[in-house]
């Protein structure tokens, strides 16, 4: 399907800050963050569409003319089944990187909602910050931009795309064992 062929029926004005649709998107994002921070990973997985594309490309230092520096290679490149694999793993007692679990706080802000490229979808850009404390160690932090596509399904949304554009070229935080 050509992306331009089927434009969302949603108008830009209908999803601007202050509109009911914008509020619904933000509430959805807050709900998702709450599920992650309270270890309800199975419920979190249910927020994703079966055909979701979920990735986090690797960033490098580049001159500005070369763009943001995202290159061929990723920290995450996931499907619904591989996300399910991660969740199933975390639900065992043996995922040592998260056993005992880290404490996380998922923050989302700077949310911009626009009509998606396909009917019934919204393009959501936002900034994220995830803090993690683990064992008796100090804070670790992950920040960046996220580009989600939310698809209208029934009375709610499913996440049809999540692209995570992290700020760090060298991750200074041991691993990515927490969910993004």
């Amino acid at each position: 399907m050509s992306a331009a062929a089927v434009k969302s029926a949603v108008s830009p004005a209908a999803c601007a800050p202050g509109t009911p649709l914008y509020g619904e998107v933000v509430e959805f994002l807050y709900h998702e963050a709450d599920l992650l921070d309270t270890y309800r990973f199975g419920e979190w997985l249910e927020l994703f569409a079966a055909d979701v594309r979920y990735d986090m490309p690797v960033r490098t230092n580049q001159f500005r003319a070369a763009g943001e520096g995202f290159q061929e290679m990723a920290f995450f490149d996931e499907t619904f089944v591989s996300l399910k694999t991660r969740v199933k793993r975390l639900e065992t007692e043996f995922a040592w990187a998260e056993t005992p679990p880290s404490r996380t706080r998922h923050f989302v802000s700077n949310v911009l909602v626009a009509p998606g490229e396909r009917a019934g979808e919204l393009a959501v850009r936002l900034n994220f910050m995830i803090t993690r404390t683990r064992a008796d160690h100090g804070y670790q932090m992950f920040t960046g931009r996220r580009e989600d596509v939310l698809r209208r399904v029934g009375g709610g949304f499913k996440i049809a795309q999540r692209r995570i554009f992290g700020d760090q070229t060298v991750l200074t935080n041991t691993n990515l064992s927490v969910l993004f």
Partner: protein, 454 residues
């Protein structure tokens, strides 16, 4: 040289630590007893920097990362920052990434195509072959004050390549790369030349963990941690529910501290064959390897190797998720210390240039989901390395040894067809003991003599 002989030499040497202990007394590879003191101790770390990181051969990058003239990547040689660059004439070179004037870093992107390296501080500019093209304010230098011909970027002492892998050393007296790798080349062929050439795909993942670099190196040829450290993957069906599943193979010490293993699948597991590559590629083994090498490639699904001290291959057969069949991945790893208790890791994904497109894609997905900082394998290893390090900092812990005695009395397998020493049963700590033996040799060799400690 036997490990025991190394000890008696070392006891007469200069290896006494500030508290009166001798390195060769507290590190006893021949007994499988390694002091916890060496892992997080600032004094030992300072000695490592001079005796190992300023002298040994280190992996910088693969030729496929810099295919065109002007292609440059920034890496480290030991712990010193370097530029690996293919110059305008196609010659691969490596330089300290530091201006000759005030020492400012001159290449400030991780990867690019650059004709010049221009220092931001005063504008000194270098060609990509290292020559100083222009200093700044040259009209203010008097006669004899600026000899541009002698002020090119500082090259590494030696740069060498094998099977597309570039290594360098800061020691002009070091043995040649070929001599240093020695018998390890025979095994590197199986990994890096089994179907022709390899390509390192994209860029490496780079990340830091709060651990001693040696806990990372120690882990790579350790087969029997897999069942328990990665037990979560056993639980969800990604690894066999059979504690001995990675015990069917050989551990090999290949000289100069180079170590490796080749492991077959569990009995009846036909996926762990041919290095996990698709069957259509197995015929390449006969073409590119000698018969003994080809037989090893055919009959094994897992292999890890360490080119001493800190560059590793992981050739594994794993599944990308709970609905996908196991297949091969080739992962290359490097780790170097930022401090006694902090380590930077590089992880690359590589693929055979001869691989069909569908396998290339599937192997990549398999890699990225299992390995690197986001990988469901790797995550748990880093948890181990960090906690082992944290527990090695205290003065009481440092009085005690770690235990590396599995297979201490195991006899070599005379039927093993490769060079070096092949031990039967791939659960054993023969490889780690050889690694620490080499570490001890480097740490107890006086610096003035130069060259590898033989």
């Amino acid at each position: 040289m036997s490990l025991a002989a190394t000890r008696s030499d070392a006891q007469n040497s200069f290896t006494r630590l500030a508290n009166g202990e001798d390195l060769a007394t507290i590190v006893r590879p021949e007994e499988g007893l390694i002091s916890r003191r060496i892992f997080a101790d600032p004094e030992v770390y300072a000695l490592e920097l001079e005796r190992i990181f300023a002298r040994a051969w280190f992996f910088l990058g693969h030729e496929s990362e810099i295919p065109n003239p002007g292609d440059a990547i920034t890496r480290v040689c030991g712990i010193d920052p370097v530029i690996l660059v293919r110059d305008d004439d196609g010659v691969v070179r490596a330089f300290l990434n530091s201006c000759r004037h005030r020492g400012m870093r001159v290449c400030r992107t991780d990867r690019g195509n650059l004709r010049f390296f221009r220092c931001p501080y005063h504008g000194w500019s270098y060609r990509n072959n290292g020559e100083l093209l222009a200093a700044s304010c040259e009209n203010h230098y008097g006669e004899g004050e600026l000899d541009k011909g002698k002020l090119g970027l500082i090259p590494v002492a030696q740069l060498g390549s094998y099977r597309g892998l570039y290594f360098a050393t800061w020691d002009k007296n070091a043995p040649s790369l070929e001599e240093w790798l020695g018998d390890m080349r025979w095994y590197m062929d199986i990994i890096f030349a089994r179907t022709g050439e390899l390509e390192f795909v994209g860029v490496p993942q780079v990340w830091d963990a709060e651990c001693s670099w040696k806990f990372a190196t120690d882990n790579f040829t350790d087969n029997f941690h897999v069942f328990w450290s990665h037990q979560s993957l056993v639980q969800i069906g990604l690894l066999p529910d059979f504690p001995d599943f990675a015990a069917h193979g050989h551990m090999v010490t290949a000289g100069n501290g180079h170590i490796l293993h080749f492991v077959q699948g569990a009995p009846g597991d036909e996926t762990a064959m041919g290095l996990g590559l698709p069957k259509s590629m197995w015929q390449c083994f006969q073409q590119h390897l000698n018969p003994a090498q080809a037989e090893i490639a055919m009959n094994h699904g897992y292999s890890a190797g360490t080119m001493w001290p800190n560059f590793h291959w992981l050739q594994l057969t794993t599944a990308a998720d709970i609905e996908t069949k196991p297949m091969g991945i080739l992962n290359l790893r490097l780790e170097y210390p930022l401090s006694p208790t902090r380590t930077r890791m590089y992880s690359w994904f590589a693929i055979d240039k001869a691989a069909p497109a569908d396998y290339r894609k599937a192997s990549y997905e398999n890699y990225v989901r299992n390995f690197g900082p986001g990988g469901i394998f790797d995550q748990d290893d880093m948890e181990n390395w960090e906690e082992c390090t944290a527990a090695a900092v205290g003065p009481a812990a440092k009085r005690y040894t770690l235990h590396h005695r599995m297979g201490l009395n195991r006899k070599p397998d005379p039927s093993w067809k490769g060079p070096g020493i092949g031990y039967p049963d791939s659960y054993g700590e023969m490889t780690q003991r050889a690694w620490y033996g080499e570490w001890l040799r480097w740490m107890t060799k006086p610096l003035a003599t130069g060259g590898a400690p033989r």
